[in-house]
Amino acid sequence: METEALVRQACKKFENDKGRMMDVLWELQNTLGCIDDHSMEIVARELKTSRVAVEGVVTFYSFFSREQKGKIILRVCDDIIDRHAGSEKIASAFSEELGVPIGGTSSDKTFSLEYTPCIGMSDQAPSALINGVPITNLTPESARDTAKELIKGVCPSSLVKKTGDGNNSHELIKSMVNNNIQKRGEVLLSTDVSKSAGLDAALKLSSPDVIKEIIDSGLRGRGGAGFPTGEKFRLARNTNSDKRYVICNADEGEPGTFKDRVLLTERADLLFDGMTIAAHAIGSNAGIVYLRGEYAYLLPYLESVLAERRSAGLLGKSIRRKKDFDFDIRIQLGAGAYICGEESALISSLEGLRGEPKNRPPFPVEKGYMGKPTVVNNVETFCCVARIMENGAAWFSAIGTKASKGTKLLSICGDCTKPGVYEVPYGLTVSELLVMVGAHDTTIVQVGGAGGVMVGKSSFGRKICVSDLATGGAIMVFGANRNVLGIVDYFLEFFSEESCGYCTPCRVGVIFLRERIKKVMQGLADKADLGYLRDLSKTIKMTSRCGLGSSAPNCVINSIDEFPLVYSSHMREKSDGFAAGFDIQKALDESRRIAKRTSMIYDPVYGEERGLGE
């Protein structure tokens, strides 16, 4: 079929609705291998928007591309854990075997090879996505074997020889991913979780009573910010509107986190129960799961669970024969943008826009998706909602600490013997955690992902809870052999690549932070640079528009505070009188080559003979 017809068909599939731009673009990317200028023009015409608006969306998401990609796209996970596990060697192995440079596409358009930020497999690093199929625990040898198979024409899904545990072996997933559940708590990973029990209990109550139960349970959002969930429901319900939305944030993009992957694999029904309860509570008939593009391999399975629920009367019209309670859920696939984990950016993305955060106020509970009151919670929170309705607020609030009720799922990875998912009551100290995961000789525990807190040895007594180390659950453990500045540099690289670019401090300031950290690493910095880093960090923190910008400098400030010796050991006195970073030899190299002569001043022998200089 010619391009024009294909593009029009893709648009038509989603009713020429510009709010479904992401779906249209995914369709085109998958069928055409790119979204070129011509396609963008047709999409703009069909969806009744401007070409530059389409271009804005295409160029925002890293999984969309204007240039032709290979039929098979290999994306090697490049988060810090994978780097430490050898992702660079994996990428080179692929590159050599396939004859494709990293970041490039083969001339016959068969293969593309690139790095991608955390794909949510840090517990089985290094890993890669090959046309969306996760290939985990790679070694350079297995990468070479994989490449050889791909060259032979083996399709990516057939690369999976042995499927993982639990539903990873389900015929609609068939993935080699392992759940790595290391510790089951009583709320989410307990084996007695039953389908629809929470929903049935909730439907016996009036909406305000459901909200009261959630408020009484003390449940706070599990994404990291810790906003009281029941209160969020109440605010959404109390905003006057003809329509309300329930949105699940399944875009866990925080480097080193993967616990939602396990919930989506093993507790899909519990999640959908939770969303349906929220719909009942706030008066909504439409829900959306925003599933990160990296988890596309779970999509067919999740769609099948939704279909089953529809036929079982748990979704759709008159749920559980309750008149006037209609609710259905659709799944929206993201396309590789960390910022979309921020709730208002996620809403922008759902609306078919660039995934940029919105101005707040108004908050989503007042004006969210399509301008309607919207509850956005993450996977874990909705699962908790269902369990609270099943077992009661009192049961839930008896677990955890005074301010942080219930259990928390932690994704723990890095330098430890037992990486994986742990369900623990709130209040665990970092030391206890390290014993639990089998970590020895630890120097840094990064709590809360790239923008979280860098906890050094002296602070291992701190507790994981809302009032101390609040976290969405990403915990990375780094041993004594890891380079602190390398980790800081990685985080800043991550933030500068994932910044949406909307506001000045985050777009520009983070670039300047990284430049200076590089200078420190090269031994070119002096004491004044530490003041500069602190100063710049403060401006970025105080003036950024959303949490990405305001948390990006945390790693800089934390590392200066926790590891002052690392910084001071990199400071060197310069004796040549030049400013730090200026290298006259480097500055002259190209010139010498072009002019085919040496410098009269800076090539010493020559200069001395002539007696030059002032």
Binding site: A53, E55, C500, G501, F512, T539, R545
Partner: protein
């Protein structure tokens, strides 16, 4: 489900349009519910520096130069609504230092070679630099972008190396001209203003558009051809009065 009417807690006691009183740097300022802090300050004759916001267009809140502290928390005053009794810090040394840094960041992000720029003297970035007394523009490294200049259009040219991503042209074109000639493309440091076609000549842009009007682009990114240097040095906009509006 039975519909019900809820109340907006934030507005429970006050309705849109009601008068309220709040403080800016300790001075009482009257405002109305529904206004932003910047609007109320403008009405009261108190200047808050800004770049992405301009009279007649919706606020965007992206340059962050109008950052203020409200009861101890920072926010962009162009998008933050006023509320009764709030305490706003505007010209404190701390806030001014943040703003100075932000202006510097924009200055270092692009190629702002004032002597070679037609917008010099009417450039808001330049005027703010002067106003903030930025004497040492070497705090940050210069990023020195090298994007091609788009001179395809008969009457207007674009040098995005000078763009500060304020989006004023985008909003003017979308909301006033109803044309969508401009839009953001890319992300992070590569976020830029793109045009609705292969280049500006292949759009329906016209020099008479609001988006092309002098004063919409705060810097020298959008330049009208054949009218360059229309005001001599000494008679340019900010030669006559500083950007704060007060001498």
């Amino acid at each position: 489900m039975t519909p019900f009417t809820g109340k907006n807690e934030a507005l429970e006691n006050k309705m849109i349009g009601d008068d309220i009183v709040f403080k800016i740097d300790g001075v009482d300022v009257r405002g109305r519910i529904g206004q932003t802090i910047m609007e109320a300050a403008d009405d009261a004759g108190i200047h808050i520096p800004r770049l992405c916001d301009v009279e007649g267009l919706d606020p965007q809140g992206s340059c962050r130069v109008c950052t203020v502290k409200i009861n101890g928390r920072t926010a962009a005053s162009c998008t933050q609504p006023v509320a009764d009794g709030i305490n706003v810090e505007n010209r404190t040394p701390e806030i001014q230092e943040y703003r100075r840094d932000l202006v510097r960041m924009l200055f270092h992000e692009g190629n702002h070679l004032c002597p070679a720029c037609e917008a010099s003297g009417r450039c808001e970035l330049q005027a703010l630099g002067t106003d903030f007394g930025i004497l040492q523009p070497d705090k940050y490294p210069y990023l020195q972008p090298s994007r091609p200049v788009d001179a395809s259009h008969h009457d207007v040219m674009l040098d995005t190396n000078r763009c500060i991503r304020c989006g004023r042209c985008i909003r003017a074109s979308a909301h006033v001209d109803h044309k969508n000639v401009f839009g953001y493309v890319g992300r992070g440091i590569n976020k830029q203003v793109g045009v609705n076609g292969t280049d500006l000549a292949h759009t329906n842009a016209a020099v008479t558009d609001k988006a092309m009007e002098i004063g919409i682009c705060p810097v020298g990114c959008i330049i009208q051809k054949r009218v360059g240097f229309f005001a001599p040095i000494g008679a340019r906009r900010f030669d006559k009065e500083p950007i704060t509006g007060k001498k």
